[in-house]
Amino acid sequence: MTERRLVPLIFERSTPGRRGYRLPELDVPEVPVAELIPEEFLREEAPALPEVSELEVVRHYTQLSRLNHGVDVGFYPLGSCTMKYNPRVHEDVTGMPGFAAIHPYQPEETVQGAMELMYNLGEYLATISGLHATTLQPAAGAHGELTGLLVIKAYHKKRGEDHRREMIIPDSAHGTNPASCAMVGYKVIEVPSDERGGVNVEALRGLVGPNTAGLMLTNPNTLGLFDENICEIAKIVHDAGGLLYYDGANANAIMGIARPGDMGFDVVHFNLHKTFSTPHGGGGPGAGPIVVCKDLAQFLPGPVVKKDGDKYRFVMPENSIGRVGSFYGNFLVYAKAYAYIRSHGPEGLREVSETAVLHANYMMNKLKDIYHLPYDRTCMHEFVLSGSWQKDENGVRTLDIAKRLLDHGYHAPTVYFPMVVDEAIMIEPTETEPKSTLDEFIEVMRQIAEEAKENPELLKTAPHTTPLKRLDEARAARQPVLRWEKPE
């Protein structure tokens, strides 16, 4: 199967014998490889690596990057993902030799500065969350969830209540919540939303019991709504002997304003790549630290940094669940989050959240006459529209609206999530966009609603201006091509 590619694969650029670098003359006696590595571990043929010059590599990845969309290229209102701008000063910080050129096997006394940074970041996150002790080790949000649930499980077990295996999760939750429960062997009990989009408190009362391990909640939730009943919810779960887990995916709405610990939560994870502005994904490292209440600190994964006088050392918590990552986690991500927190300060972080919430409410109110807004109340950092008017009246679906947005140089919002909203369009503008960007996006959304009425075909066949037109997502999922095969 041959298909035209916009940019050839790097393997297809390969020319036998071409090299990026020439190594210097060997100035020590040469030892045959067979004497160093047992024969059964040696490959018989050279690996089929691409043979390219440095310039070709640079051109290849630059060309690929021009086909991509990122927050450095344009607006990226992907709900629940907090695609904020990542300040460039972070790169200066992570380039400092004391951070960039150290090794995890170095003796503690030679890396005191890095350890101080880890200690302080843990303390800052504890202050922001209103909780007690931090581990930075988990590599991403869902990994933080898994770690938090393992800590909760260890807590119940130590108290002789290992039978508590039921975790209650709202029907609006992120899919990672039930997935993390399944990973630790918990049974998921779903609690429905009430008519205001929060947890149905009466239903929750009927679901808790002697087998309740806890409740996982995102607050503000995936509808971008703050659950006003959180104190009552926490009391119901605690009275039943369960613990409360806070999914910090939406923490960009609450910094310096409300603290999960004060709401009654026992465990929190933060996505440093969302709230604290370290880069997202792209296969790169993330970080999902968790912060826990005093009773749970003994179970945290280790090693954690402890401060003795003015010295820092690594220790394993007394009843630690063990390591959840290699070495100390993704250290340079911590350095970026630390730089973000230090450069903003407490007042600045509060302003980040206030601005994020203001931006979301501004857009929501400008758009709610054009698109159906199922839960019409003050939102937090994001809001969820429905494409149901366009579907019923014009036969145009949310997917078509999202694809048409690409023609205007935007990344599409999160669509078809949360599941409690039909044809959901979840928009999170973040605090880093200027008002002019918000106004331009609102105008484009208005224009698309007009097109849905006048020329629905234009939406159904979108995008029209992107390097590739509408992709066959079903075929890509049914018959994925996951690797390159060398032609015979």
Binding site: L399, V415, Y416, A477
Partner: protein, 125 residues
């Protein structure tokens, strides 16, 4: 023995043949889900409770459970769906059937809708 077709509020259809019921999803359900790309089937011999999710349909949009309106044992699964999940979209009421369940005890149809009732129900959705 006559066959009876019924529908659930979760948009499954049930074809009753004695003490065995065949289950799939309605045309409305497949159109709402979009292109199905993977069907996670149970194993023959598994026991399912009434109201329990016994299979999962993965579409380009989301993963959705298929719920059993009856308790019983999985008697057969549509293995064609493993390689051709698109049958659920192309022929939801026929070639895209998902499982057959041998019902524990007597089949209760009282809470389920017949075709006319289901069509009326869809108008309200």
């Amino acid at each position: 023995m006559s066959e009876q077709l019924r529908f659930t509020k979760e948009h499954e259809w049930i074809l009753v043949k004695g003490d065995v019921v065949r289950i799939g999803i309605s045309d409305y359900a497949q159109s709402e889900l979009g292109d199905i790309v993977f069907v996670d089937l149970p194993s023959v011999g598994d026991h399912v409770e009434e109201g329990e999710g016994f299979a999962a349909l993965e579409s380009v949009k989301a993963v959705s459970d298929v719920y059993s309106p009856v308790a019983g044992e999985i008697a057969a699964v549509n293995e064609e769906l493993e390689d051709s999940p698109e049958l659920v979209n192309e022929s939801p009421m026929d070639a895209g059937w998902i499982v057959e369940i041998k019902v524990d005890g007597v089949v209760q149809l009282d809470d389920l809708m017949n075709k006319e009732e289901y069509e009326a129900f869809l108008k309200e959705v």
